[in-house]
Symmetry: C2
Subunit: 453 residues, 2 copies
């Protein structure tokens, strides 16, 4: 006998968790569809050469690799053991588990370029796997939930995704802020200081601002060769506070000689204007100059969604990319994507008590009885109810009535129908309301009316 | 640049396939819920000690194993290379991918025995992975779709699953036969010949009858030590044809001295009687004496569903098991399960043309325009429509009208709304019906009425 356990960093979802998860998934899906996004699914298993090199060195290490089938050791020599894991990997494993939904999407678009109508709006909700060290709130298997519009560089797409963001969280009744910025604005900052070649150093340092504070970022920039004056300029750019419009005007002065910076501001302006027509305002759509987003494939607008009432970090991320599919042989495919951090959204909803009362039990009514004939009648009635769309189940055994009531209680089934000898004779059902204990003798047709009401 | 491809034996599902898959999944889910089944999900990754030894030697070989993280070669010695893959496996891989939904379900039930209300009705729809040689219609990653009632040995549960089977295929408009038998009937056959110790040999041979015919089965039995007379008796038992009731009476004569055989027939009788009250008849619920089902964990009733109009093999399988959870430390948990072969059901539906017209496009209407102002208006209107539950999208660029019409055509979007200068001035929309080419000038409120109609 073995003591059963889950693999480290993985979870089971029981009926109650599933009800909550499906509540959120269903709302997100509904809005994806409303916005014309089409569902796709890609396989969990990808060739390693599709995955490796796409997520940086750290990402490569976090890929789950699948051992080749058959005698996987046959090509391994004693020298390989000395050479180490990295060199030997191709002989042991050719496949890996999906690390995110973006790279498989890029592969899919490249492979199906001739069938798809561009701009292609796709959504995808599937699990991904990362060999991270498990810790509270971080799992090795978790769902991602992405929507992208690829094959168009129009800024209306950014506005569409922002409107989508707004619709979803409005339906979930979760108050959020959406922070937006542009990679081009960040480029404008270094550009305006004559440091255009050090954009990556700058973005990497700035990305940590939230966690480490300005002094540490300042030190990192100095270490990378920024002068004290340049750091001061950056500090004044990023620490300016004001309304969106004021920030744009403030930066415009710095960006007098930076074309890319001006372009970034113009794009922010366009997206803000479009979003305003849709009811977004400074209150919840914030031009956040310090927002950097780690992922290197972003090239234009970037954004990050946060819950207003809890300090949970970001629950949504995304941005514009220009070159996602070129590593799969399809260059010049600009796109913009949004990713809903579904696991964290569920945590926030739980913390804020935003879930409505959800019936995880399935059944609305349980049938119980005292004889084989009662069982037969219960089974028949149950199937009549189901044809009416009522969720029903038969208690499987002739048992003490108390036991079936306890079962209904534990499973939170609101009604129990008892079929005894008298009920059988009169074609009736003794119906008990489990909430208030009320009991009444009624016919099957009356029962249907009552439960449907 | 790399030529992108799917890993061998895996598939992408584009919007059109997804629409078909979701059509079938949604119907199955609806009926699962109607019958009081509760959703659970288990992780894709399980500890290998949960999986190995559960599917026979062949199954163990077909498990996808996941390479340990970090320097996975560090514990491998040159001697290990000589010892071979099997012995070295525990040092290289501790986790594997789910092979079916039954073993993870058993693990889940064992781990959550104190929280669950028994009998527990669960359903689970998730992918599984098998390192099979890929071939037409057989994939390495595919969905399974299971419903089980565990924690009760009542035969009403068998009848419930048969009623579930009937409801689902009736909704899918797919004509099916359900073949039922009992392991106990099969045991009765060998028992009645004094061969009770050779049940496994008998079941293994009989399981192949469909594929290899009686002569080969006969030879296999002879090889296993059955006498010619005994084989003749078996032949006459399994080749009897008649109505369900006649078969029961015919076998009862053979089973005069076999308690287990009599019990099997009684169980078949009970389930047939219950199912009759629910409209099942000899026409589509068939007592099939030769049905054996390969899996060794079945102990009572077994069944197999087939499509009537195509020779596609079984599309549903299942049966009663008594001891699924004991290897996880929870003995005496009788249960009964049904598994819908979702990938094959999809193939059958496709072959028989049973899918209704499905709108995979998402959007019901596409907005197009000729200016920045038109774009703004289009974006605003789109969001108004979405709030009415209408699926809408904005064509992202100012473009030639022809191009956006071609896009709508390719994506099968039924309506295009054009917003030109005149329309802007008059707060109107020029609506084109893509099916018949009709065009009309209307207001947004009229448009909403029209599309909702």
């Amino acid at each position: 006998m073995q003591k059963p356990s889950n693999a480290r960093g993985t979870r089971d979802f029981g009926p109650k968790e599933m009800a909550k998860r499906n509540y959120v998934f269903d709302i997100i899906k509904k809005h994806f569809v409303e916005f014309g996004f089409q569902a796709i699914e890609t396989p969990s298993i990808e060739n390693l050469n599709t995955l490796t090199g796409k997520y940086g060195e750290e990402g490569d290490q976090l890929l789950f690799k699948i051992l080749n089938s058959g005698n996987y050791l046959k090509d391994i020599s004693p020298e390989d053991l000395v050479a180490g894991s990295k060199k030997t990997l191709p002989k042991l494993a050719e496949k890996g588990l999906r690390y995110d939904l973006t790279v498989p999407f890029a592969r899919y678009v490249s492979m199906n370029r001739n069938e798809l109508a561009f701009p292609f709006r796709r959504y995808q909700i599937q699990p991904v796997w990362r060999a991270d060290r498990p810790q509270k709130g971080r799992y090795r298997e978790f769902y991602q939930c992405d929507a992208d519009i690829i094959g168009s560089d129009s800024l209306v797409n950014e506005a569409e995704l922002i409107a989508l963001f707004q619709s979803i969280f409005s339906s979930l009744r979760l108050k959020t802020n959406l922070l937006i910025n542009s990679r081009k604005v960040l480029m404008g900052m270094v550009d305006s200081l004559g440091l255009q070649n050090q954009f990556v150093d700058f973005a990497v340092a700035l990305d940590k601002l939230d966690k480490v504070g300005w002094d540490a970022v300042n030190q990192e920039l100095i270490d990378k060769g920024f002068s004290i004056d340049q750091c001061e300029s950056i500090k004044s750019m990023i620490s300016f506070s004001g309304m969106n419009q004021e920030k744009i005007e403030y930066l415009a002065v710095y960006f007098k000689n930076s074309e890319i910076g001006q372009q970034g501001l113009k794009e922010i302006q366009t997206v803000l204007n479009l979003s305003e027509t849709n009811g977004f305002s400074n209150d919840n759509l914030i031009f956040e100059i310090t927002l950097a987003r780690g992922l290197s494939y972003y090239t234009g607008l970037i954004y990050e969604g946060k819950a207003q009432d809890v300090p949970f970090g970001s629950i949504v991320g995304g941005g514009r990319y220009d070159d996602l599919t070129s590593s799969f042989g399809l260059p010049n495919m600009s796109g913009v994507g949004i990713s809903f951090g579904i696991e964290r959204i569920l945590d926030v909803m739980e913390t804020l008590g935003l879930f409505p009362a959800l019936n995880a039990s399935g059944s609305q009514i349980l049938f119980t009885y005292f004889s084989a004939e009662g069982q037969r009648q219960a089974f028949t009635y149950c199937n009549v109810l189901r044809k009416e769309g009522i969720k029903a189940e038969v208690y499987p055994d002739v048992t003490k009535i108390k036991k079936s009531f306890e079962f209904a209680d534990k499973k939170e089934i609101p009604f129990v129908a008892v079929i005894g000898d008298e009920e059988l004779k009169n074609n009736q059902i003794s119906l008990k309301d489990m909430k208030n204990g009320d009991q009444q003798l009624i016919s099957i047709s009356r029962l249907i009316q009552l439960i449907k009401a």
